[in-house]
């Protein structure tokens, strides 16, 4: 059965109204939950207009919507540490604090709150640390960015949950990144996914150093696999080309079959992902890795 995926056009100036319209027409519903967890993307030291991290205005619009239509006990905005991600600093430096204060939301660093070790039937991981905030009966919204990625080709709704793994050195999972993304979605499956592509990231140096693409869209739905399948189409891939989408579907996270509501994705701007350039970049990266390993006194 196909999952419903919405696509809407907007820019950051009108995102409040457009998000409200989009979510209401989709039939967004918290299903009686009084706690909401929003996983944002603060994975790199890049300013919001680069498209790399969550835009504060999008978070502002989402919090406004939640406060307007639901009587909630608490809203948690979460992110975890990574090798190049220091969310405790980024949340301040990139202007999120006034927004959190305005809507009474609480920021939680998943790497610094308590966590429990849980057995899972993952493709690569058999145990995973689950931050305590996820143990509550809360509604989980994944608020991610629409980006290309030099490692996984794209980074949208499903990849955002990789950031729910509370350990800092997540990069150790990079050799099995597709499997681990699927595993993370098994544990942290979002109830609702929103992918902000108003300014996305294109080119082959994504997700951190690509080209900002002013695509003026956002994609949303209850099934993160279907949402990512639509995102793959927007970027210019066939969903079957993206390994973590296939693996997530195999694990039962969702389905790649989708029913599109809202805007047509044919109108969307191209994301400039050149496959030959990507291949050359990968070769260069492996050369650099090989050279670093061989680096010795002789190389000087």
């Amino acid at each position: 059965m196909a999952s419903k995926v919405g696509v809407s056009l907007s820019d950051y100036t009108y995102i409040g109204d457009m998000l409200e319209k989009a979510l209401n027409s989709y039939g967004f519903n918290l299903k009686g939950k009084r706690k909401v967890i929003i996983k944002v993307n603060l994975s790199e030291f890049r300013t919001p207009e680069t498209g790399v991290i969550t835009h504060p205005l999008f978070l502002d619009a989402l919090l406004k919507y939640l406060r307007k239509f639901y009587d909630l006990d608490s809203i948690y905005v979460v992110e975890s540490d990574s090798v190049v991600g220091l969310p405790d600093f980024f949340i301040r430096w990139f202007g999120f604090i006034p927004i959190l204060q305005k809507w009474g939301a609480e920021y939680i660093n998943l790497s610094r709150c308590g966590s429990v070790l849980r057995d899972i039937e993952g493709l690569h991981l058999k145990k995973m640390r689950v931050p305590e905030v996820f143990l509550d009966d809360a509604y989980f919204i994944s608020l991610s960015k629409l980006k290309t990625s030099s490692i996984t080709r794209m980074s949208c709704a499903l990849k955002n949950q990789f950031g729910c793994i509370p350990i800092k050195w997540k990069s150790k999972y990079h050799p099995w990144i597709n499997e681990v993304i699927a595993d993370a979605n098994l544990v942290f499956r979002p109830d609702f996914s929103i992918v902000d592509g108003i300014i996305g990231v294109g080119g082959v140096q994504g997700p951190s150093f690509g080209v900002p693409i002013n695509a003026r869209i956002f994609v949303y739905g209850e099934d993160p696999v279907a949402v990512d399948s639509v995102c793959a189409k927007i970027i210019g891939f066939n969903p079957s080309e993206i390994a973590y989408i296939k693996k997530s579907e195999k694990l039962g996270v969702g389905t790649t079959k989708y029913e599109l509501v809202g805007e047509s994705i044919k109108k969307i701007r191209k994301f400039e992902f050149n496959r030959i350039e990507h291949l050359l970049l990968k070769i260069g990266f492996h050369l650099q890795q090989a050279y670093s390993r061989r680096y010795s006194r002789d190389s000087l």
Binding site: F45, R46, T47, T50, V83, V84, G85, L86, F89, R92, W93, F94, G95, I97, S208, F209, L287, Q288, Y291, S292, Y295, S296, R297, D298, S299, L300
Partner: protein, 357 residues
């Protein structure tokens, strides 16, 4: 020459130790780090005989001739002054110290004890930078009139927070100090005044992450530079303009070219071919991947030679002091929104009104 290294962080492991290992007349005999396990690991990895938690063991070791300081900048002065007082020559990572006052003190103590002090401003040893200097000295662009530098680097996320906010200097004290040194070295002139605009372009980072700077020299030269941590791409390029031509250099590709007269397509073809030639040469030799780390060795080698031959240090304490003074003046100019006189600033901060660099 027997070497003792203090601080076993990334710069010591990736650049200093491999450089010393590749110099036949140098022998690293001890390493020290406040993290003893790290010192032990580094000593084992590089076959160093002794390792310590307390750096005083290194500077009190009679066997050691040269102390290499690879610790964080705020510790440079204390270690260097102790080492110089014990008669050790000093090699210190950039910037020379955390402020002008400490740098002046380091230079004075080194002179008083008859030891040599050299600061690792290794960007001078990029072959492109050497080429630019050679062209200027040969008069190929006439008299230098102005220099324009662009110095952008992605924010160093792996630094410790204490280092980030060091002196509120941010990008100026990180990669910027290399650009300042390169400009002063190429200009061969004393910086007279500095005017800077910039500061913290984010919310509450409390250090300079973006700055545009104008440096006026004693002669008629002027330098304009742009520093940033925000743009996500590493750029280290310099235009030198002279009365008879121009030189452009790009340290990311270790490439430079001269431009004279009317621009022609042949110029473009020649420059592109030269760039590709340098790129493939560096790719094959591996220098492309090492970037600036490959240029510690020539500087260290020259320093050891200068100690033996009693010649000039490749980068003297005074030169590094001037670079630090310009960096400090940039931050001061941003805060005070006005021009800063370099010499007056050095004299007032060092507390020595007769000091002349």
């Amino acid at each position: 020459m027997k070497i003792g290294i203090i601080g076993c962080g990334k710069i010591a492991v990736k650049a200093h130790l491999p450089s010393f290992m590749a110099i036949p007349e140098a022998e690293v005999v001890s390493v020290a780090d406040i993290d003893e396990e790290k010192a032990k690991y580094v000593a084992k990895k590089f076959g160093v005989r002794k390792y310590f938690k307390d750096y005083n063991y290194v500077i009190n070791d009679e066997e050691i001739d040269l102390v290499d300081i690879c610790t964080t900048p705020e510790t440079h002065a204390k270690i260097a002054i102790n080492a110089a007082s014990n008669g050790k020559h000093i090699l210190v990572e950039k910037p020379i110290a955390s402020n002008v006052r400490e740098a002046v003190e380091m230079i004075k103590v080194a002179k008083r004890n008859g030891v040599r002090l050299c600061v690792v401003h290794n960007f001078r040893y990029f072959s492109a930078m050497q080429g630019v200097k050679r062209s200027i000295l040969e008069g190929r662009i006439g008299n230098v009139t102005s220099i324009q530098g662009v110095c952008h680097q992605h924010f160093p996320l792996r630094w410790s927070p204490r280092t980030w906010w060091f002196n509120q200097g941010g990008v100026i004290y990180d990669i910027g100090i290399h650009m300042i040194d390169a400009i002063l070295w190429l200009a061969e002139d004393y910086p007279k005044e500095v005017y800077a605009v910039g500061g913290d372009y984010l919310n509450g980072m409390n250090c300079v992450n973006q700055a545009s700077v104008l440096i006026e020299f004693s002669g008629k030269k002027v330098a304009l530079c742009d520093f940033s941590w925000l743009t996500g791409r590493t750029i280290f390029s310099i235009w030198v303009h002279g009365t008879a031509g121009h030189i452009f250099s790009d340290m990311c590709f270790n490439h430079f070219y001269e431009a004279h007269g009317v621009p022609t397509p042949i110029d473009e073809i020649k420059n592109f071919s030269l760039k590709m030639f340098t790129f493939f040469k560096d790719l094959i030799s591996g220098r492309f991947f090492l970037s600036s780390l490959a240029y510690h060795k020539p500087l260290i080698e020259k320093f050891i030679e200068s100690i033996k031959s009693k010649g000039c240090e490749p980068v003297s304490g005074e030169e590094a002091l001037l670079a630090l003074a310009v960096a400090e003046a940039i931050v001061q100019s941003i805060n005070e929104k006005g021009k800063i006189d370099i010499m007056k600033m050095i004299q007032s901060k060092s507390g020595d009104k007769n000091l002349c660099v």
